[in-house]
């Protein structure tokens, strides 16, 4: 078991180094020297320029610069934002819970609706319900989510006034961040009105971000269930007189869940990528909106650090799914 985990972890190291290299050359591809960006239009004397370059290590050979960069990253130093002058890691850690809260809630939404819909569609194969689920999920999969978000705002926020247009919480409330998760923080502070407000703010972004994963989960569940339902052991279970719900719930679903769980794990990347659009539409104060603003402000260290940190979290989640998969399914663990 330990050996399996260690193998998987060691396979991730080159990928991580590659990502680090990619983000390292990223900042060098940007037109303009980092110092020129910092100095702006005021100009600078050649001596001061050389001194600055020396301070930032830009006079060293490229491979030394890269090693220094990796060294700093491994020590949690992701550079300093050009605009706020805060460490990039601090900014990331402050904003990440907002993105995570939204992503988890979207995943929950997608799973809670997608799983039953996919199962029912498979069981009632060829029915109107099946065609409906498949049609809707293909539409969801094709949806430009930035437009979908606008439509929902137009309908639910503007026309009906049910949900707020943007942000995480009404301006009426101030909640001291404890965990960074607004739903938990408001409950811990005992502010139930604020909790309701946070919940109302979460609904539309959750639907928008969850739409594509919902479509993927529903389609995947359906096809996995269809495959399993054709197996001999399902016929055996029926033959020995088990009820339909027991056959589907106990025998079929368990085996169909394995690919579905993998797909849910793989959606993490989609969720963090989709967060860029969703957070921009709803002014959700998370990583996605921060990255887009960093691009607008030409804050390249923030962009560089943010990309590396997001990629690292995606790799970490994929690794976790991989290992969990091995734990759950001994056949994979012993395969190699």
């Amino acid at each position: 078991m330990l050996r399996f985990i260690l193998t998987r972890v060691s396979l991730v190291i080159p990928t991580f180094l590659g990502i680090t290299f990619l983000t390292f050359i990223l900042i060098r591809l940007v037109p303009g020297d980092p110092i020129e960006v910092r100095v702006g239009e005021r100009g600078i004397s050649p001596e001061r320029l050389a001194q600055f370059r020396h301070e930032l290590g830009l006079d060293l050979p490229l491979w030394r610069q890269f090693l220094d960069y990796v060294w700093n990253v491994l020590h949690g130093d992701f550079g300093v934002s050009l605009i706020t002058h805060n460490p990039v890691l601090t900014e990331f850690v402050t904003l990440f819970p907002a993105t995570l809260e939204l992503a988890l809630s979207a995943m929950l939404f997608a799973t809670l609706i997608g799983l039953p819909a996919g199962i029912l569609a498979a069981v009632k194969r060829g029915s109107l319900f099946d065609h409906g689920v498949m049609g809707i999920s293909l539409t969801g999969y094709s949806m430009p989510i930035f437009w979908w978000g606008l439509l929902l705002i137009l309908f639910f926020s503007v026309a009906l006034g049910w949900t707020p247009v943007s942000g995480r919480l009404d301006l009426l409330y101030y909640i001291e961040p404890q965990t960074g998760f607004m739903l938990i923080d408001t409950l811990m502070a005992g502010e139930y009105d604020a909790f309701r407000s946070a919940l109302r703010h979460l609904i539309l972004p959750t639907i928008v971000l969850g739409t594509v994963p919902l479509a993927v989960v529903a389609r995947m569940t359906r096809s996995a269930m269809l495959e399993v339902l054709g197996e001999d052991y399902i016929r055996t279970a029926h033959a020995k007189g088990l009820s339909d719900s027991r056959v589907i719930g106990m025998h079929a679903l368990r085996n169909a869940l394995i690919p579905v769980v993998t797909v849910i794990g793989l959606q993490v990347g989609t969720l963090l990528g989709g967060a860029i659009l969703t957070e921009t539409i709803f002014s959700w104060p998370g990583i996605g909106k921060w990255l887009i603003e960093s691009i607008g402000r030409r804050d390249y260290p923030a962009l560089q650090g943010g990309v590396l940190l997001i990629a690292t979290s995606v790799i970490a989640v994929n690794l976790l799914v991989d290992v969990l998969y091995g734990v759950l399914n001994p056949r994979i663990r012993h395969a190699r």
Binding site: T15, I19, M143, W148, G273, L291, I310
Partner: protein
């Protein structure tokens, strides 16, 4: 499905032409036929936008700013889908936008398919260190969320339609590379490949003439689905201000530039979104149908 499945029900000695057989399987799927019809219609609109569009997409009718569509109060037949905030005809802009979207699809798919195919072929054929190196790089690209990678590449290259197309192409290359490599690995040790190797065929001939035609089915499906990804992602970049710049009538850019009129004139935001959705949906439907028709495992 009825029992009379076989296309060669009559006593025919020769099997039907592969294309005919493909068409037989393809037309079973009504959804993908619909997708194909929609794509053909959009292609016609894109090609003949000059003649089909009622107005020039960039002419501003100052007297007709934010005219609603023809069926709403105050609408007129002059501007069937209404006008935008500076009085440009929505329908004409959407038609020219179709041209841009189809062009984005064609260029992105061609570019990423060519590069991905080359990488995948080389990796699958030569194996060893070359394989490890190429596939590791592809894994790294895959570890980044695609939207994030596209945004970063577009931010480095600078905003603009061409750079947005490059950004989206880079993002999808790994998919083609992986698919090609897998297909090549499945074929490369077959007898017919060994036979032509023994007969003295060089690596280039083996790759392009012997093996490639047998790996083409999954690539066609992926390329069709690639159209929808390309159109969707390029529109998203346009929406974020990193893609085509105004006044280019690209659908995502149109959406972003009329955002502040969302409440007063919902149609300026509705139509570009509907256009994106319909086009992307059509390509996804077609891709699904192609997969069913081309995948021998699913053939009945």
């Amino acid at each position: 499905m009825s029992a009379s499945q076989s296309p060669a029900a009559a006593p025919v000695s020769r099997p039907p032409h592969p294309l005919l057989e493909f068409w037989y399987h393809f037309k079973q799927n009504k959804g993908s036929l619909l997708g194909l019809a929609v794509i053909l219609a959009i292609t016609v609109i894109a090609l003949f936008a000059e003649w089909l569009a009622p107005h020039d997409p960039n002419i501003q009718f100052r007297e007709a700013i934010l005219t609603p569509p023809v069926w709403a109060d105050g609408g007129s037949w002059r501007f069937i889908l209404g006008t935008d905030d500076i009085g440009r005809d929505m329908l004409s802009r959407l038609m020219y936008g179709a041209r841009l979207s189809m062009m984005i699809g064609v260029i992105v798919v061609t570019l990423s398919l060519a590069v991905g195919l080359a990488f995948g072929m080389v990796a699958g054929f030569f194996g060893g260190m070359v394989d490890v190196l190429i596939m590791r790089v592809m894994d790294i690209l895959l570890a980044l969320p695609s939207m994030l990678l596209a945004v970063v590449v577009a931010a480095i290259l600078g905003p603009g339609l061409v750079n947005a197309m490059l950004a989206v192409s880079v993002v999808v290359i790994p998919h083609y590379a992986r698919l090609t490599r897998a297909a090549v690995l499945a074929e490369v040790n077959r007898d017919y490949v060994i036979a032509s190797r023994v007969a003295g065929a060089g690596p280039l001939r083996l790759m392009l003439i012997v093996v490639l035609p047998n790996c083409v089915a999954p690539l066609i499906v992926q390329a069709t689905l690639g159209f929808s990804t390309a159109i969707l992602d390029a529109a998203a970049l346009g929406f974020l201000g990193l893609g085509a710049q105004p006044p280019t009538p690209e659908w995502g850019t149109m959406l972003a530039s009329s955002l502040q009129f969302l409440q007063r004139a919902p149609w300026v935001v509705t139509w570009p979104g509907v256009s994106i959705l319909v086009t992307v949906l059509a390509f996804n439907l077609l891709g699904d149908g192609l997969r069913d028709a081309l995948d021998p495992k699913l053939k009945r």
